[in-house]
């Protein structure tokens, strides 16, 4: 989510920013209580806080979070393996690449969201539908970035492997994979965010579990404060998962392979 320097700079020593945030919250509170614009159903921050507390104490919130995160991680894992494997093959084999790339570009252009209805038709309201969607959507960033990473391996390195008389498998393992790694990592990170969003969408539409479903239930019960709680939790989950991912990358790959792909 492009927050490396931003996080450090904005968290540390930013009383002004925090103050503005709090001021905005207070303004919101006043706005609702004074019923200025007459937006029905707009909850005040205080109500959201109360609803949050309630949801936590009920234990319902936690259960839903566990479901959503579980599906996300499971799906993301599967998508990563498939995407990486397929990406390696397509990246390494020129022929395979030539004879398939346009297809992938075309399918990629179709937003994963549009596959939700197809998934619903085929798998119905089930956990399977959610998983299928998450995996199908998550494969693309990993696939594309793996291919990109493999292609970006400098030709000099390939000469090195010839000189060292490495066989095909060793070349891949010792030279191609490490060189492609930074871009693969970016793909994995993008896929993670995407998987979370797809899981939530699937829960909103089809699978009666998790955060998405909690959101819909709250809506049906006309409980806007609780809805806001779920929205905020969804946002927090994204941030936390992203941060955990970066932490893991930093620990497992200490050579500074996290490089920014974002627009910042």
């Amino acid at each position: 989510m492009g927050r490396d320097n931003g996080t450090r700079r904005w968290d540390a020593l930013n009383p002004g920013g925090v103050a503005v945030l709090l001021a905005a919250a207070c303004l919101w509170e006043v706005f609702v209580r004074a019923d200025v614009a007459n937006i029905q159903f707009l909850p005040a921050p205080s109500e959201i806080a109360v609803a949050a507390r309630q949801a936590v104490m009920d234990g319902e919130l936690l259960g839903r979070i566990v479901h959503t995160v579980g599906v996300t991680l499971l799906g993301w894992g599967a998508a990563s393996i498939v995407g990486f494997g397929l990406g390696l093959v397509l990246g390494l084999s020129n022929t395979a690449y030539r004879y398939s790339m346009t297809s992938f570009e075309v399918t990629r252009a179709i937003p994963p969201i549009t596959f939700v209805p197809a998934a619903l038709l085929i798998f119905g309201f089930s956990l399977r539908m959610e998983l299928v969607l998450v995996i199908f959507g998550g494969v693309w960033p990993v696939l594309v970035n793996t291919i990109g990473g493999v292609h970006s391996v400098p030709s000099e390195l390939r000469d090195v492997s010839t000189m060292l008389r490495l066989n095909r498998w060793e070349t891949v393992r010792k030279i191609v994979m490490p060189a492609a790694l930074p871009e693969v990592v970016v793909g994995l990170r993008l896929a993670l965010s995407l998987c979370l969003v797809l899981a939530i969408v699937a829960e909103i539409v089809g699978n009666p579990e998790g955060i998405g479903n909690g959101l819909i239930r709250a809506r049906q019960a006309l409980q806007p404060a609780l809805m806001f709680v779920y929205v905020i939790v969804a946002g927090l989950l994204g941030v936390v998962l992203n941060a955990l991912f970066r932490r893991a990358v930093r620990l497992l790959l200490p050579n500074g392979t996290v490089h920014e792909e974002r627009s910042w």
């Binding site: 927050r3 931003g6 700079r9 904005w10 930013n14 002004g16 920013g17 925090v18 103050a19 503005v20 945030l21 905005a24 937006i39 159903f41 020129n94 690449y97 030539r98 004879y99 790339m101 346009t102 297809s103 992938f104 570009e105 075309v106 399918t107 990629r108 252009a109 179709i110 937003p111 969201i113 549009t114 596959f115 209805p117 197809a118 619903l120 038709l121 085929i122 693309w140 960033p141 291919i147 990109g148 970006s152 030709s155 993008l190 939530i200 969408v201 909103i204 539409v205 955060i211 998405g212 809506r219 806007p224 809805m227 806001f228 929205v231 905020i232 946002g235 974002r262 627009s263 910042w264």
Partner: protein
């Protein structure tokens, strides 16, 4: 955002070679569709054969819904993207030009940016109802971020010499902004718009699907709920085509501006 794949540098292809690649690359899709056609039957509840897709658009007299739906989707997408650009550029310039404003508004923006648009949709329908305004609002909320961030970066990376130059030529404030600053920032802005475009389109379709208000997404949702799988697939293809068209349009626009700035051939 997923990045474009680089082709391997060691292959120099002539232009006709490129065309061959593009067509050859379609083989898996062609194979898949052919197999599907042969194996599936038009009545399959899950996997109707591709040949059944196009006709399915017109069954039960639903054919006349298609064009209006495409227009609706385009309108929401277009208005949303334009508004997102206006807001994104305005805020991006403000935040890029003033370090203090940047730090002050930062946490608030980070918080808002983290909220997934999909989750915002149900809230939006509750607060704003089921109409065009709600659709556009959600699209703007989602698409404004890449534009704002890129504008911010663009403003920050304006070469200070340009500002000195404008001052030394005694250009008025309006002229400095209009003739020097805005053109200097426009590649960054266009990059932001290019990144925001697929986002805006996806969110438009998502909102339509989730709320059924209008547009292609709503048609898809309708087809799905009434168990018309062939129609669903046909509409997915349409959505994909719209997506391809829009993306390539924005990309070529961005390239044109980029070329103007690079001066072309030196």
């Amino acid at each position: 955002m997923v990045m474009a794949v680089k082709r391997p540098q060691r292959n120099n292809r002539a232009t006709n070679g490129r065309w061959f690649d593009v067509l050859a690359g379609l083989s898996p899709l062609v194979v898949l569709l052919t197999v599907w056609e042969l194996v599936g039957s038009p009545d399959s509840p899950f996997y109707p054969a591709p040949s059944a897709w196009w006709p399915a658009l017109f069954t039960r007299g639903q054919g006349e819904d298609i064009i209006p739906a495409i227009i609706d989707t385009s309108r929401t997408f277009g208005v949303g993207l334009v508004l997102a650009t206006v807001v994104g550029v305005a805020v991006g310039v403000g935040v890029g030009a003033s370090e203090r404003t940047d730090r002050a508004l930062g946490p608030m923006f980070e918080f808002a940016r983290a909220l997934p648009p999909a989750a915002i949709v149900p809230v939006a329908t509750l607060l704003l109802g089921f109409d065009e305004t709600m659709k556009v609002a959600v699209v703007v909320l989602a698409a404004v971020w890449p534009i704002m961030l890129n504008t911010r970066t663009g403003v920050r990376s304006i070469d200070p010499v340009l500002l000195d130059m404008a001052r030394s030529l005694k250009l008025s404030r309006a002229h400095t902004v209009g003739k020097v600053l805005l053109p200097a920032v426009s590649p960054a802005i266009l990059l932001g718009v290019r990144v925001a475009t697929p986002v805006a389109l996806v969110i438009t379709l998502l909102v339509e699907y989730l709320t059924g208000v209008s547009g292609v997404g709503a048609l898809v949702g309708d087809a799905q709920r009434t168990f018309q799988p062939a129609r669903v697939y046909a509409l997915i293809v349409i959505a994909g085509l719209i997506s391809l068209a829009v993306n390539s349009l924005v990309r070529s626009l961005e390239q044109r501006v980029r070329r103007r700035h690079a001066g072309g051939g030196r």
